[in-house]
Amino acid sequence: MSSTTNSPTHHTSTIGAIGAPSRRNTELALLVFAVVIPVFAYANVGLAIDDQVPAGLLSYGLGLGLLAGVAHLGVRKFAPYADPLLLPLATLLNGLGLVCIWRLDQSKLLQSLPNFVTAAPRQLLYTALGIALFVVVLIFLKDHRVLQRYTYISMFGALVLLILPLVPGLGANIYGAKIWIRVPGLGSLQPGEFAKIVLAVFFAGYLMVKRDALALASRRFMGLYLPRGRDLGPILVVWGISILILVFETDLGTSLLFFGMFVIMLYVATERTSWIVFGLLMSSAGAVGVASFEPHVKMRVQAWLDPMKEYTLSQQGVLGHSEQAMQALWAFGSGGTLGTGWGQGHSDLIKFAANSDFILATFGEELGLAGIMAILLVYGLIVERGVRTALAARDPFGKLLAIGLSGAFALQVFVVAGGVMGLIPLTGMTMPFMAYGGSSVLANWALIAILIRISDTARRPAPAPASNPDAEMTQVVRPS
């Protein structure tokens, strides 16, 4: 890993920029790979379920390839120095998600449910829209620093997005969480997914300006640095409002996501460990507080603490109990190390939300531990590239924004995967790129587009410094 030597003993080293090569051909090769893998999986599902290669194989492969190609051309044209891995990784996850949703569509058990809809064609449409949004963001966001101008507008935008589902007539209460809005003719939309990005813009813009005040103008109290109220005030208010809204909307996953993102960005901006301590204290206090009075959340916590008991109660027909947590664990368990193989598991027994919140259980059953590990690594690589982008970014706003977005992405993966696997209470969020859901796919493609834009700016070779003939003569007095 190349890095700047700051050590005063290494003065005889010259430090110059290595122009990162454009890497677009690497990206193309990886992209082809990332399209071939889901096509392989698709053929595998067809062979396992119907004993024949599915009829739509060619069109599916071409469709996914075409979408990936469009995205690649967009990157090639509008962000030529961008990170070569972000797009292929996202494409792979999206493609695998599509295959898994299509595989669950084939399930006879799910088809017999009253509210069954074939989800795969819709998800393909959402993917196409997501890629379109990706390219549009790349075209219109020429420089991510433009977003800095909209710091406070983003704050209001995020609040409006979060309040929208509570507006009577617009919001829709689906399965106990009021996080959707109905758009006539389009279906329902989940504004919280987009609020994630907008809020990251606000935090980045605000913390960039205020970080010195937050980090330095502070009192020391019991070994922790407490910032002044007026520096902290606005951001705490925004946080409080978003948490309150989320409590009223009973969407705790998103609430956890926002708060985690807030703490991560605050920590990165100020380098004060005290924020992590505060963050953990506040989030645990908030979680305990909410769980004690909110029945929807209470049920989730009970299902987390004792899934088997919840399952038994649910089987006995007692209302208000969830069998899913136990079913997801069984799915993972029956998958074992190497899985049952595509199309041969029985994760469709998780009837409700098998293809959205619980999609990871299907992967766990059919690909086993080996497959889940690979998928989590792919998510991890996306986060790694985001953090690397933040490290390489030259402007503090870009740094904070990239950290915020990749932190939010990582938290979302953690909250969903941890919930499905029983590590933390289930919170009902979508696995980025994989789960069925238009808002999630669109928002995450936009997120990747912004990361690609920042990485393009960061990796663009800086203009070579003009050689200065006087430099040799100048005597710099350096304190040593």
């Binding site: 700047t4 003065h11 790979f33 071939v36 893998i37 062979l47 080996a370 690979a374 998928i375 690589l381």
Partner: protein
């Protein structure tokens, strides 16, 4: 579809998935960018075998070892110094083998020993062997002067073995 085919496909898919992850990690490995730290002198002396890490940083000023005898250097006595050692300053520990070449000292990039010393001039001093193989130090009109033992140099002066030559905060001496 036979059980065997499905098993092969199942394992094959996992293998391909992992192959993708491994390829992606390889891309990251080859994707280092950012700042490059160039050791001064390494460009001029590309033939020098690369040393690694800290050692390289310390010994960057070491010139390429010349295989043959120095030409025209004349005979050298038993007590001829074989190396120049920096004994104080930021470059402490750097050694340069003395093989008949002229050693320049200064802040200039192309000096044999690049001094990072606020009191050193760009081209501060040089050390060279005269016809008899005696090593001579000469001040090149530096601002703050070159000292041999305690006295400031005014003319090229032969260097006794082990005598400290002081340039700013840096002290060098010749050793056997």
């Amino acid at each position: 579809m036979s059980e065997l085919t499905l098993t092969v496909m199942r394992l094959g898919f996992l293998a391909v998935l992992w192959l993708f992850v491994i390829v992606a990690v390889q891309v990251i490995r080859s994707d280092l960018f950012g700042t490059r730290v160039t050791q001064r002198g390494s460009r001029r002396e590309a033939s020098r075998p690369q040393q690694s890490g800290r050692q390289q940083a310390r010994q960057q000023a070491t010139p390429p070892p010349q295989r043959g005898q120095q030409g025209g250097g004349g005979r050298r006595g038993r007590n001829a110094p074989t190396k120049l050692v920096v004994s104080e300053g930021t470059l402490t520990g750097t050694t340069v083998a003395l093989q008949g070449q002229t050693i320049t000292l200064g802040r200039a990039h192309d000096s044999t020993i690049v001094l990072d010393d606020d009191y050193a001039s760009s081209r501060h001093a040089r050390i060279y062997p005269d016809r008899d193989g005696q090593w001579i130090v000469e001040d090149l009109g530096s601002t703050n002067g070159t000292y041999l033992d305690r006295s400031r140099l005014t003319t090229p002066t032969p260097i006794p073995l082990g005598a400290p030559i002081r340039i700013g905060k840096t002290v060098i001496e010749l050793r056997k």
